[in-house]
């Protein structure tokens, strides 16, 4: 007992004697920690600032100027935005984008969910099915676009050959304003559903089978269990997938370049494709910047909705 008190005492005096040094050392330690942390963050921060934050700010600034022929810039304030508000093609592209999102997102997500629930069950050929569903995602987009281009080709294409079997005349699927959007939507659903399915499948495999069994003992039907247990527990995945789908629907451009060039009569022009055209075909970079700001605002709105509101309403494990 006495021994221990002595030891404790000696340690305390030790500590007291060295405490100014200790605290100075602790101070410089904290400083070093901070420096180290920033150094570790630096590469990522540099990349993020150089290629994300700075371009955003530059774009916003650029949208407030116009570039004259001699290369000098002139401040025009919100003139470009006024011009945009009066631009029918901009409104057309925005509307197209809305219908495109509405056509692709709910269907591809619902399909993904159904396929995931189906493939998640114990059955033969499960691995093969999973791979089959995932294939559209791993194919290069150029190849995908060309395959679908063949499907939609008038007269020779797969679709028209099938119509021919029933004695129907050929149809210019991508050349008709009334069908071109539908054709794009079908193709994108085909491409996205398999990708989203993988996320749902991963989430389903995290769920304990006990939950379903507990529900079945209580007499819950399959559908009731899905509605009250499985689906709510998949909500984090659904949110993630929805956000991705919305962003993808604004990012689609490569298929348009290959398949429709936004036509006919701008019937398949989406916002990002319009920006691409304005910037590189019409060489009007300040108007392109203006359109880009609109796109950025839309996407940030979605991000805010996710982080500010939806995350708080969803049960995370």
């Amino acid at each position: 007992m006495a021994d221990r008190r002595h030891l404790a005492g000696s340690r305390m005096t030790d500590h007291a004697a060295s405490s100014p040094i200790v605290s100075r050392r602790a101070g410089s330690q904290a400083w070093w920690n901070a420096v180290n942390a920033w150094l570790l963050l630096l590469p990522a921060a540099v990349l993020l600032i150089a290629f994300t934050h700075f371009p955003i700010l530059a774009t916003i600034r650029h949208s407030l100027f116009i570039t004259r022929r001699n290369g000098t810039e002139a401040f025009v304030g919100l003139d470009s935005y006024r011009a945009m508000a009066a631009d029918p093609i901009f409104w057309k592209a925005l509307g197209n984008n809305f219908w495109f999102a509405l056509g692709t997102i709910p269907t591809s997500i619902a399909l993904a969910l159904v396929m995931a629930v189906w493939v998640n069950r114990n059955m033969r050929g499960r691995g093969f099915l999973r791979l089959a569903y995932f294939t559209p995602t791993v194919l290069p987009m150029i190849a995908v676009a060309n395959v679908w281009l063949f499907f939609y080709t008038p007269d020779y294409g797969l679709l028209d050959q099938l119509r021919g079997l029933f004695g129907l005349a050929g149809w210019n699927w991508l050349g008709d304003p009334s069908t071109v959007m539908g054709c794009l939507i079908v193709m994108v659903i085909w491409k996205e559903a398999g990708f989203f399915m993988i996320f749902y499948l991963a989430a389903l495999q995290q769920l304990s089978p006990d939950l379903e069994e507990a529900a079945s003992i209580e007499g819950a039907s399959r559908w009731y269990t899905f509605r009250r247990i499985t689906f709510p527990l998949l909500m984090p995945t659904t949110l993630f997938v929805v956000i991705n789908a919305v962003i993808n629907s604004f990012k689609l451009v490569d298929h348009l370049v290959i398949m429709t060039k936004g036509g006919p009569n701008n019937a398949s022009t989406l916002l990002l494709y319009y920006i691409y055209e304005v910037a590189f075909t019409f060489q009007d970079s300040s108007y392109a910047a203006t359109l880009t700001v609109v796109l950025l605002t839309l996407l940030s709105g979605i991000a805010l909705l996710k982080f500010g509101y939806l995350d708080r309403r969803i049960h995370y494990q």
């Binding site: 069994e213 529900a215 079945s216 209580e218 007499g219």
Partner: protein, 339 residues
């Protein structure tokens, strides 16, 4: 009517016979414990009763009705899972009334029953919480609440206490048993812990490799183990089994005394002091044997002692089949080792 009867029930996973020709009866209103080491087929047997697995052969009846081919819901049972299987996104209240909602019980009755059950399991103040905000013991109570609110006559439990600490386990053991008796449920309770089995059960079914090793009251399993396996499984510490020549003899640690002039020489290997008594671990002819002695035993490891027990306390087993040899103990003919 809620007795459970299994007749010649089997279930295999490939070549592995998880449940092999099991027949048993849990009387109405009684608590039957399925006991055995891990992997012996207890959970599979329970899941067969629940209808979560389909039997390969045999018949299962609940309350005299053949339920072998009925769905879990049609069997009108409740079940507590080892993992508790609480719905993580639902509140305690919603977890408990889940089954009532499925069956479209009216709101008024649901609330009344919830209040009653919450009082019984002591959760009245936690009804709005999510399972993640509860302690292990509280989660256990939610699972219990969900099982009893249905007022099913049959309740199945799969190692419900294995995730709790020792003190809580002791408490819940008593509570579950009291609840079962108060509500008059027929309960099948799976555990690998023989203490739980001995303290709670009306009937214990000891399983080994998918087969029933012994089926009897706790007292029978303790006092008249049918096989050496049962003898080794029941009791803390379990029965000592000593080979003497071509005999296999079992003696409970509490029936052995350390006395000068006892007729078995032994060497003390270690001593465990439990407070009220001590377990002295000895060795006879290289075979381990444990001795329970009252109070704080003074013997030291390495010491040579002499052990004695009464012939009437000897259990004899066939050295090959390890089955109990009845006659020998009763007539005492072979009781040569009286001290």
């Amino acid at each position: 009517m809620s007795a459970i009867t299994l007749s010649h029930v089997s279930k295999s996973w490939g070549a592995m016979r998880a449940v092999d020709d099991v027949s048993l009866t849990a009387d109405e209103g009684s608590l039957l414990v399925l006991l055995g080491p891990s992997g012996c087929g207890k959970s599979t047997t329970l899941r067969l009763i629940a209808g979560l697995e389909d039997a390969d052969g045999g018949a299962i009846a609940i309350g005299g009705v053949d339920v072998t081919h009925l769905t879990p819901a049609q069997r009108k049972i409740s079940m507590v899972f080892q993992s508790y299987a609480l719905f993580p996104h639902l509140s305690v209240a919603e977890n408990i009334v889940f089954g009532l909602r499925v069956r479209r019980v009216s709101r008024a009755e649901r609330d009344a029953r919830l209040r009653r059950v919450a009082d019984i399991v002591g959760l009245a103040h936690l009804l709005e919480r999510k399972p993640a905000q509860l302690s292990g013991g509280q989660r256990q109570r939610v699972a219990l609440g969900r099982a009893i609110i249905a007022e099913a006559r049959v309740c199945l439990m799969d190692e419900p206490l294995s995730n709790l600490d020792a003190k809580l386990r002791h408490e819940m053991r008593t509570e579950i048993r009291a609840l079962q008796q108060r509500l008059g449920m027929t309960m099948v309770y799976v555990t690998h812990d023989q203490t739980e089995a001995m303290t709670m059960a009306d009937r214990v079914v000891l399983m080994r490799d998918g087969r029933i090793e012994q089926n009897g009251s706790p007292e029978e399993l303790y006092n008249r183990p049918a096989t050496a396996f049962t003898a080794r499984f029941i009791g803390t510490p379990p029965m000592n089994l000593v080979r003497q020549g071509d005999h296999l003899i079992g003696i409970r640690p509490e029936h052995i005394r350390i006395v000068t002039g006892g007729d078995h020489a032994a060497r003390v290997k270690a001593v465990e002091h439990l407070g009220a008594d001590s377990i002295v671990l000895c060795e006879i002819d290289g075979q381990p044997i444990s001795v329970r002695s009252d109070g704080f035993s003074k013997v030291q490891p390495g010491e040579d002692v002499r052990l004695a027990w009464e012939a009437g306390h000897e259990h004899r087993f066939d050295p090959v089949s390890e089955r109990r040899l009845e006659a020998s103990v009763q007539d005492g003919r072979l009781a040569t080792s009286v001290g």
